[in-house]
């Protein structure tokens, strides 16, 4: 009996150990889907889209590169950790007018919440979108579809983006 208790003491230490259980994909992104005014999915067809943003050091950075084709029904953009507002510059080049870049902007207003999973998992920020607006050039309108931004990839898209039908 005493020997068994000794062995079980060692087993107890092993049982008391834990495992790491972090989310596989902990990146937090916002998802945009293109829609026609009647609510059916839209695509860029033969146009090409780029999205840029301005960094805190004053330099611009590309966050979406050359989205194009009839399969381009949506895209993902990063969301800042703690800024109250993210501003994106959207550029589009049309196939029939390749020398000219059309531009628009998307401004996302949000609340930021630090999220902790475990000491073994990377820190992340979750967000709640409170407002979104655009310049209204080739983007007709943009609406919030799902205000909660986290790393749940199965959640519905966050924004519905309606392109200007006259564009």
């Amino acid at each position: 009996m005493r020997k068994i208790i000794g062995i079980l003491f060692a087993v107890s230490l092993v049982v008391a150990c834990s495992s790491i259980d972090c989310p596989v994909n902990h990146s937090v992104y916002t998802r945009y889907m293109l829609y026609q005014p009647d609510g059916t999915p839209d695509t860029l067809v033969q146009d090409t889209m780029w999205v840029l943003t301005m960094r805190s050091d004053g330099k611009d950075t590309l966050v979406l590169n050359s989205l194009c084709g009839s399969n381009a029904t949506g895209f993902s953009l990063p969301i800042s950790y703690t800024q109250p507002e993210d501003k994106f510059i959207v550029l589009v080049r049309r196939l029939q007018d390749p020398e000219y870049l059309y531009y628009d902007s998307i401004i996302v207003k949000k609340e930021n919440f630090p999220h902790f999973e475990s000491v073994d998992c990377q820190a992340s920020f979750f967000h709640r979108i409170t407002n979104v607006r655009c310049m209204g050039n080739f983007i007709d309108s943009i609406v919030i579809n799902n205000p909660d931004v986290n790393y749940d990839k199965d959640s519905p898209e966050h924004f519905r983006l309606y392109l200007n039908p006259d564009f």
Partner: protein, 231 residues
């Protein structure tokens, strides 16, 4: 001749009656004897036991979290053991090498429940038992992460909280043994399945180590190795 026959008949009847009476008296006496043999002379209150766990302090020595835990257990008829456990859980995870997180908490917790001796002969010095516990802790956590630069906008972000108030209620199913070593000293171990029933994790959405429960999850498995003293 007739008188002789009557006498024989009367004698036979008396003999049969006597035998029947003797038989019934013997059966009643045996039943009384059996009843006396089954009567348990062990009193209901059999004393107290105090115990302390060695696994929690070992985990604190070898790792960054663990518990100091003691218990007071009543022995009722060597069969029922109402128990109260009190502990102090502690985590001090200093600046993780990968994630740079510092996690600190120190808080008490308690459990209350009952063990049942499931051995056939309950009045031995060794016990095999199963039991349950209700447990609760209210604790405060410091979660600190120095300078978290935004990978796209390159701006510094503050991440962390001090004295975040959290709490948890949970239930445990316990299975264990203890064996008498000498005198009032027993050694024993138990395995516990812990199931969270309610929790408040604070504004960061989650906590890591919960005093008394272990790593925060919907359930948990743990083991104790106890030094037990009869008092």
């Amino acid at each position: 001749m007739t008188k002789i026959r009557q006498s024989i008949s009367a004698f036979t009847s008396i003999l049969i009656f006597s035998l029947l009476l003797l038989g019934s008296t013997t059966t009643a006496h045996a039943q009384l004897k059996m009843f006396r043999m089954e009567k348990d002379s062990i009193p209901l209150f059999r004393g107290f036991q105090v115990s302390f766990d060695l696994v929690g302090p070992a985990m604190l020595m070898l790792g960054d979290h663990g518990e100091y835990e003691g218990a007071l257990r009543l022995n009722l008829h060597d069969q029922w053991f109402p128990i109260f456990e009190l502990g102090l859980g502690r985590a001090n995870h200093e600046k993780d090498e990968v994630t740079k997180f510092t996690y600190k908490t120190t808080a008490p917790y308690f459990r209350i429940g009952m063990d049942w001796n499931i051995m056939k002969n309950k009045h031995q010095d060794n016990h095999l038992y199963a039991g349950f516990r209700y447990a609760f802790t209210s604790y405060k956590v410091d979660i600190i992460r120095d300078e978290l630069p935004d990978p796209v906008w390159i701006s510094p972000s503050q991440f962390g909280v001090k004295d975040m108030a959290c709490s948890m209620h949970w239930l445990e199913i316990v299975f264990g043994i203890d064996a008498k070593i000498f005198g009032p000293l027993h050694l024993g171990w138990n395995v516990r399945y812990k199931r969270r029933i309610a929790h408040k994790d604070g504004e960061l959405g989650n906590t890591w180590y919960v005093p008394g429960f272990g790593i925060n999850d919907k359930d948990n498995l743990a083991a104790n190795f106890n030094v037990i003293i009869d008092i």
